[in-house]
Symmetry: C2
């Protein structure tokens, strides 16, 4: 699905809002822009995204062979600036898009988001079917592929589940008083826990306990398990059951979620990060980012499958002022959900980023569905 090579000749064709008036300027974020202004804004962004240099009226006119003179374009640029969509580093510089401008672009101006070519899609799929059917390997690969495809940094979170149920558990004797609890949930997630025992147990003892628990608790989620075990006697069986409850709960709440990251280097080679101070900030956001751990649960609990785009932190995340984040959910509705994301400078190819996270998240969802059957 989704071919490439968006037609660049026609104006901004897709998602154009309905009847738009001809008011010329002011109005803040009111989005009433002339058709021509929209076109020019699109070009400014397109040009700036690819060159990283402020865009002048001349460049727009000449490079894109517009039927207006630079002067006309200048007037329009002034209008766009008045409306807050672009800015001016200084008097004699060209224009650069503001966060608001990018937002408008993403919401109204983006041509059909530049999808991945068939070849790219094929190569990516190939890689996924290359490796063993292991969730974590998939996620790691997803991060790496996303980074490479988008030329930005990528992140993939391990999924949370919504209703984990016990499929199988086993206690394994490690030492006289320590046992390893291995838990497999219905969706194939494995968790291990070390348990200290009050009294020494042999492997046979442990197997007996495991068997009993498997018979009693299979296919229950943590809540059911909790009520079921409430009035069990205070013995080893119950202790283990409580650990099971605990662990399933953790899975459902996305505790212990890991984040796979990759491609940090990609965004450091962007020209906006020629300033060390920024680099440091970016690295720290990505390495140990508070912001990201706030955003991910938000995306997970949002509804709809739309890709979310957070531009320059959207005034909510100070650490992200210089960055944009494009996120998609993957998983199986109502059962498991994780996040695939791209982090890069606000000057980013939003179209491509969006199609990339879309493609990868769909791929992951597909793989997971397939695997669970």
């Amino acid at each position: 699905m989704a071919t490439d090579e968006a037609p660049k000749d026609e104006a901004g064709p897709t998602r154009r809002g309905p009847g738009r008036p001809r008011k010329n300027e002011e109005g803040g974020s009111g989005s009433d822009l002339t058709e021509r202004q929209r076109e020019i804004l699109r070009l400014v962004i397109q040009e700036f995204v690819s060159t990283a240099a402020p865009v002048s009226s001349d460049v727009i006119v000449n490079k894109y062979r517009l039927p207006y003179s630079p002067a006309t374009v200048r007037n329009e640029l002034a209008a766009l600036e008045g409306a807050g969509y672009i800015t001016h580093p200084h008097t004699s510089a060209g224009r650069i898009p503001s966060d608001l401008g990018y937002r408008y672009f993403v919401e109204h101006l983006m041509e059909r988001p530049g999808g991945l070519t068939a070849l790219e899609q094929h190569n990516i799929q190939h890689q996924f079917y290359q490796i063993q059917l292991e969730l974590n390997e998939w996620l790691r690969l997803a991060a790496s592929v996303t980074a490479r495809t988008s030329h930005n940094a990528a992140l993939v979170s391990t999924p949370r589940t919504y209703d984990s149920r016990l499929k199988y558990m086993q206690l394994i004797s490690v030492q006289e008083r320590w046992a390893l609890l291995v838990l497999v949930s219905q969706d194939g997630t494995i968790r291990e826990q070390m348990i200290t025992l009050d009294e020494a147990k042999t492997q046979d003892d442990l197997t007996t306990i495991s068997n009993r628990l498997n018979t009693l608790l299979t296919n229950l989620n943590w809540k059911q398990m909790e009520t079921r075990t409430k009035d069990w006697p205070e013995d080893m069986v119950r202790t283990v059951a409580l650990r099971l409850v605990e662990t399933l709960k953790m899975l459902d709440q996305n505790q212990a979620a890991q984040i796979y990251r990759d491609g940090l280097v990609n965004i450091l080679s962007q020209p906006e990060f020629s300033d060390i101070e920024r680099v440091r900030q970016v690295v720290s956001v990505i390495e140990s980012g508070q912001a990201l751990t706030h955003i991910i649960p938000e995306v997970l609990s949002s509804d709809g499958n739309t890709v979310q785009v957070i531009i320059g932190g959207d005034n909510r995340f100070d650490d992200l002022r210089l960055l944009s984040v494009v996120l998609a959910r993957y998983g199986i509705d109502g059962q498991v959900a994780g996040v695939v994301g791209i982090v890069g400078p606000t000057r980013m190819e939003y179209g491509r980023s969006i199609s990339t996270v879309q493609y990868i998240s769909n791929l992951l969802s597909g793989l997971m569905t397939e695997r669970r059957g």
Copy 2:
């Protein structure tokens, strides 16, 4: 063990080589330096490490109240430069240590490596006993603690084993034709593998197979398993056994080894990385480092428990020219082994780095021994 507060007043007391002649200069790496030269070299390094600025003769004399005049020191500096231990960014600058100088320092001049204070040790231990008894959590924590303690980037590799033996395995039905193979080795490592089945099997079928394999193969390593299963009939049982062999082999060869990293930000705040080009290089070395994956197996297969210090790549790793790596092995002799490392600029507090990796690796080794009993 290992207290702190190395006495800084006395000259370089520890590890002093035996009778050393009074030859004054030349001789390349021949290590015959005057006592005074050694002292001065030590001061140059100490000063440079803490200030990051080229060290002048004046500073040395005044700051450390040496009983010589700056001119004398200048002569000695010239000698040290001739011998290759220090250099000159340009004529009118002070001296900076060369990689050779650092090497000499680490090998002969370092005062008792500045150990961690009792408080630090206590805090670190506390953190480890805080968390669940999970190997991977320990390793992640080790990376984070090492980074924070050393103020550099840290890495911790998941351990390879030398003689993994099967403790317990179980097949779990996921779909009609897919099963999850969970393998627990004697040291408590867990691996999961998805297996596709030629024909549909119920969970009961799978359990029967598992039980048989457990009886037949428990406590075998992969080689034994291979010979044992050689002439089994070509059935499902054998297929699974082969996967077991494969997996144990992987464990022994440190395939699928992960590396936990942390603290990248720390080294970016060092003044030597005010140049973007360097930052990029460093980030790419640490994020996807070829060099590191070469070094780690080397350290693992080296003998002795000494901490290894690689300074500026030691002419073997080009990518590491600007960096030094301090590595220690952890694990249990002849059974499991992983690596704890610190990566930072060549201008690094080697003493502290060495004690840190030593301490952390001992701690990990202890935890592992304890856990396995």
